[in-house]
């Protein structure tokens, strides 16, 4: 479990980093290394060069705007979890960060690294999808903004093109109340299934609702049918159970040693219902 040999570069600007990536087709950006380095140690990846993004200050910036926040790719999970603005403006993200790994991993692992890695069981891709965030990519030909719905394409697959860097994420402040539910084998493990559910309630009637499932499919899944079912309906226990069921109906769930598709879908249904139940009770 030792790394294969690789070259190592530590640029100080984004431009320099892009040049390095352009110079070598097998180069890979290195963020916190919490996913990439274990994969290299297991010799499942052997990049020719690691371009360490750790000294590019620009990538650690966080800009708090009136209606959205722009968070730099190299902000660590720990920094985001301790950030007052994240807590105040993006409570869903704050909640979900408690489920990301353990403190030691959060101290190094980054927001951008997590999104670029796009593990289906990771929390941040679900959060960014739930909040309808935009991922800002920079390549040799300039910057582009990709909506979360287009960015996450599968387990470990994203819209990042070779030679591109994920520089930041823009997250609009949501008018909804959110609840986050996760099922994992142990605390700190990647999710077996998770749900992010947001509602706008008028009394107990659902004026608006947004339901996303994580780790159920290869990428975050929006439960449109369940949302449509709940809109305009009171959040009764019956409706909550039914919405959970509808959220997973027809979903082709993933399979791994912890859960086969049917079991995974059942858990996801339970998580959606629990999130809705908490929201109905005002417990968020």
């Amino acid at each position: 479990m030792k790394f294969p040999a690789f070259a190592y570069a530590v640029p100080e600007t984004i431009e320099e980093a892009l040049e390095l990536l352009a110079s070598d087709a097998d180069a890979r950006p290195l963020a916190g290394g919490q996913s990439l380095l274990p994969i290299m140690a297991l010799r499942l990846a052997a990049p020719s060069m690691l371009v360490d993004l750790g000294r590019i200050d620009m990538l650690r910036q966080c800009v708090v705007g009136p209606d959205r926040m722009r968070i730099g790719a190299m902000r660590t999970h720990a920094a985001n979890a301790a950030c007052f603005d994240v807590w105040a403006q993006l409570p869903l993200m704050s909640d979900a960060l408690h489920h990301v790994a353990h403190q030691a991993v959060r101290n190094r692992g980054t927001f951008g690294g997590s999104l670029a890695h796009a593990d289906a069981g990771a929390e941040m891709p679900l959060v960014v999808s739930a909040l309808d965030g935009a991922i800002i990519l920079r390549g040799p030909h300039g910057e582009r903004s990709v909506p979360a719905a287009d960015f996450f394409q599968g387990h470990y697959t994203t819209a990042i093109e070779p030679g591109e860097l994920l520089v930041a994420v823009e997250l609009p402040y949501s008018p909804l109340q959110w609840a986050f539910e996760e099922f994992a084998r142990r605390s700190g493990d990647l999710a077996v299934a998770m749900a992010a559910v947001g509602v706008d309630l008028d009394g107990d009637v659902c004026r608006d609702v947004r339901i996303l499932l994580g780790s159920v499919g290869e990428r975050p899944i929006r439960a449109h049918d369940a949302e449509a079912f709940l809109r305009g309906r009171p959040l009764t226990p019956g409706a909550i159970t039914e919405a959970g069921r509808m959220a997973v109906a027809g979903v082709a769930a993933r399979s791994d040693i912890h859960a086969d598709p049917a079991y995974r879908a059942s858990i996801a249904a339970v998580l959606v219902s629990r999130a809705l139940d908490r929201l109905a009770r005002g417990d968020f």
Binding site: P38, D260, I267
Partner: protein, 789 residues
């Protein structure tokens, strides 16, 4: 006449106190070296190519490209090793036992994923791993035996040398139990699957060897629990002069039995060091550890218990099948699981009739080995879950049914059907204590009201009697024809300090502290005045730190040796104090006339006199102020206790959360209660792991699927609940100070408590869980099945 079983006189003073562990400053600051910290000039690094297939015939291994890689000093395949060592012969003098020879590098046949095929030595481990990728192996795959069922039914052999895949069958006790089962008011039975697990010590295995050609000395650094054994095995397997071998154990980062074997890699590294004339180091990585370090505990117990109307046990039947893997591990072999299990399956209960048989089969999996609670964990789990089931059927409390069946004071000594003589044990007191700690009535009320809210709480309990401090008598009882004693040397220094050398190795248990407490009390001096030297085979002889034996053997050997030196101290003091030697006592740092501490001399003064003042010596005084003594207890030393767990099962997801755990431990007189409690807590964490999380999974092709700690789930601090511990102390008469062994108990009986709690939580739904770990997926499926019917 003095014998190895003599029980020396030790008066507890420091014994019984929780003094801080003297090893902790070094451990906590990282200054104590582990094997991976050993750095020798010119040292080379080993990487091992492991079989990618579960069963195959090796057609060819081409090392030429690997040998040409940068930094590579040597590359070997099985053909290079065979002339130097035929492999590890693991045999036991038992009728019907099939011995196996495990080559250091596979010869014609590879029998499991992870078996070593080739080795590369290079100037760094990374370069050695680079070279592994260049080795071209041609392995022809042959049919795989992936399960015990396949082993017994398909006719395919997992290992060509094991006919019918049957390594061992035993049935020492085969009472006719049909009448008892016929007459029973209640028969409870089940088929309990315990998982294949890995002891997973935080430090993986490792070995460093240096062969000095000028002197012929072979120095080995080993992460092992059994250095003396390793030394002798190197001598035998490599035909190397034993007096020129030293095995050093730096700090060992946990072993739990996994490091209580002779591993093929250890002999291989010696051969490489001899061949290259340079120090060679092999540090196992975590993935190798999961693939190749011994696995443990995978058994099926088909067990049935016959109970009468009053809840009394009439008979127990057990049929055990062990999935033992492709080879026997030395020295414990396949007997380590099911065979040991059926000999202890009824302890600590009065069970008048027993019919137990066990078979151990070869499969194309990693060989099994010792892991904390050896042999006990699986049958204890099955038995205790069945006892709870019987209690439910009869409307008895789980405490009451146990009270009615446990061995009572008036039954002692009680001989179990398997032939184990139980001479002592505070079994009933354990049950009472556990019941009080839990607050049984209140728990049942809480369980009721939680159920009304759709929450499922469960309580599980387990009572055990443990063969602890395993010596020759215990090993022979378990059918291991092995003699097991230790020695220690005790020296009183001129300034009255005490130096002890022992063969006991420490893997985090705090022996340097506890053995100092023992030696201090043997001389009546403060523990700070004692130094314990351990960690090299040049010190003393020891069987190893296994089977909860170090407290027993430490106290036994140190006690006997100290008694010899004490006689010298008494002789001098008697002369100086004008008293008879028999009247002289050692306590409080003084050597004094009994009951008259005023008439005495400081311990240091008497020691000084022995070294420097011949005038004080009695006539014919022999001033050797040191002694070496052996110890092996006269009979089997038994500790006992019990465990309980409260869990909550989320039936909607199948997730089990452990709310709280309890332990009652009677390990005789405790040397250091804090250390005893640490051992209990660690074992209880492993119990949670085995019953709820850990499982090494092989697929139908014998491929291991759980190859990292992301898939093989060890419990973390967050998965282990608060643990409440109570102590009972029934002193042993077989060991100085009344000490007994401990350390394994929590893996003997806490798994049963957790398993029982899960079953208790689900009993109201008609759900039983017999397959472990009780993963959410399994629990969910069982609940769904029950709902359907």
């Amino acid at each position: 006449m003095a014998t190895k079983a003599d029980v020396a006189n030790i008066r507890p003073q420091s014994i019984g106190t929780s003094i801080p562990r003297r090893e902790d400053p070094g451990l906590l600051t990282g200054r104590t070296p582990y094997i991976a910290d050993i750095a020798l000039p010119g040292m080379l690094h080993v990487a091992i190519l492991r079989s990618p297939v579960a069963h195959g015939r090796i057609v060819g291994v081409d090392l030429s490209a690997a040998r040409a890689m940068p930094g590579v000093e040597l590359a070997w395949s099985g053909a290079d090793v065979a002339p130097r060592c035929a492999g590890i012969m693991a045999s036991l003098d038992q009728k019907g036992f099939v011995a196996t020879v495990q080559p250091l590098l596979a010869q014609e046949e590879v029998c499991f994923i992870g078996e070593a095929i080739a080795v590369v030595v290079a100037t760094s481990r990374a370069e050695a791993e680079d070279a592994l990728e260049k080795i071209d192996i041609d392995v022809e795959e042959i049919p795989v035996v992936a399960t015990v069922d396949a082993a017994m039914t398909t006719g395919v052999l997992a290992n060509a040398k094991v006919p019918a895949n049957l390594v061992y069958r035993s049935d020492r006790v085969t009472d006719d139990v049909s009448d008892a089962f016929g007459a029973a008011a209640v028969v409870v039975e089940g088929c309990f699957h315990t998982p294949r697990v890995s002891a997973s010590p935080m430090e993986t295995r490792g070995f460093v060897a240096r062969h000095e050609w000028t002197t012929g000395q072979l120095t080995c650094w080993a992460a092992t629990q059994m250095p003396s054994f390793i030394k002798t095995m190197i001598a035998i397997h490599l035909q190397f002069p034993e007096q020129q071998i030293e095995v050093i154990t730096p700090q060992v980062g946990g072993g739990f039995g996994q490091k209580a074997h002779l591993h093929p890699e250890e002999l291989l590294v010696c051969l490489l060091a001899i061949e290259l004339g340079r120090p060679v180091r092999w540090i196992e990585d975590r993935q190798e550890n999961l693939f190749r370090a011994t696995h443990a505990k995978q058994q099926v117990n088909e067990m049935a218990l016959a109970v009468d109307q009053e809840g009394r046990f009439l008979a127990l039947r057990d049929r055990v099948t062990t999935d033992g893997g492709a080879y026997n591990s030395l020295p414990w072999t396949h007997l380590v699981e099911g065979h040991c299990g059926i000999l202890v399956v009824t302890d600590p209960y009065r069970v008048p009739a027993l019919a137990a048989e066990t078979i151990s089969v070869a499969t194309n999996k990693c060989p099994i080995g010792a892991y904390r609670g050896v042999g006990f964990s699986a049958p204890t789990l099955a038995r205790e879950v069945l006892i709870d089931r019987a209690a439910r059927a009869l409307g008895l409390s789980p405490f009451e049914i146990r009270r009615r069946n446990l061995i009572r004071e008036e039954d002692l000594p009680y001989t179990t059907r398997a032939g184990l003589r139980i001479r002592e044990g505070s079994f009933l007191a354990t049950v009472d204590r556990l019941e009080a700690m839990i607050g049984y009535e209140a728990f049942r009320e809480r369980q009721e009201s939680a159920r009304r809210e759709g929450r499922y709480l469960g309580l599980g309990i387990s009572i055990f009697s443990e063969i602890s401090g395993i010596g020759t008598r215990a090993l022979n009882f378990l059918d291991f024809p092995i003699t097991s004693h230790d020695t220690a040397t005790v020296r009183v220094e001129p300034t009255g300090k005490v130096t002890v050398t022992t063969g006991i190795v420490t893997a985090g248990q705090g022996h340097l502290t506890t053995l100092a407490q023992v030696a201090a009390d043997a001389f009546g001096v403060p523990a700070e005045d004692v130094t314990i030297l351990s960690g090299s085979t040049s010190h003393a002889v020891g069987f190893g730190t296994v089977a909860s034996r170090s407290a027993v053997f430490g106290a036994g050997t140190i006690g006997r040796a100290a008694e010899m030196v004490r006689a010298k101290m008494r002789a001098i003091a008697a002369r100086l104090l004008q008293a008879a030697p028999e009247e002289i006592e050692l306590s409080g740092g003084m050597v004094h006339v009994r009951d008259d501490p005023g008439r005495g001399l400081p311990f240091a003064s008497v020691a000084g006199a022995a070294y420097f003042a011949e005038g004080t010596h009695p006539e014919d005084f022999d001033p050797t102020m040191e002694a070496t003594a052996a110890f092996d207890p006269a009979d089997i030393v038994l500790a006992n206790g019990g465990h309980a767990a409260i869990v909550e099962v989320d039936v909607a997801t199948g997730q089990v959360r452990v709310e709280k755990m309890f332990a009652v431990e009677d390990c005789g007189r405790m040397i250091n209660p804090m250390i005893v409690e640490g051992q209990i807590r660690g074992g209880m964490a492993q119990a949670v792991g085995m019953v709820l999380l850990e499982e090494l999974i092989y697929d139908d092709n014998g491929q291991l699927i759980t190859t990292t700690l992301q898939d093989y789930l060890l419990p973390t601090a967050l998965d282990v609940p608060d643990i409440e511990i109570a102590h009972l102390e029934t002193p042993s008469t077989l060991v100085p100070g009344g000490i007994k062994g401990m350390g394994e108990s929590a893996m003997i009986s806490a798994p049963a408590a957790v398993a029982g709690a899960v079953n208790d939580a689900l009993a109201c739904l008609g759900v039983t869980i017999e397959q472990f770990p009780a993963s959410p997926r399994r629990v969910f499926a069982a609940v769904a099945r029950a709902e359907r019917t």
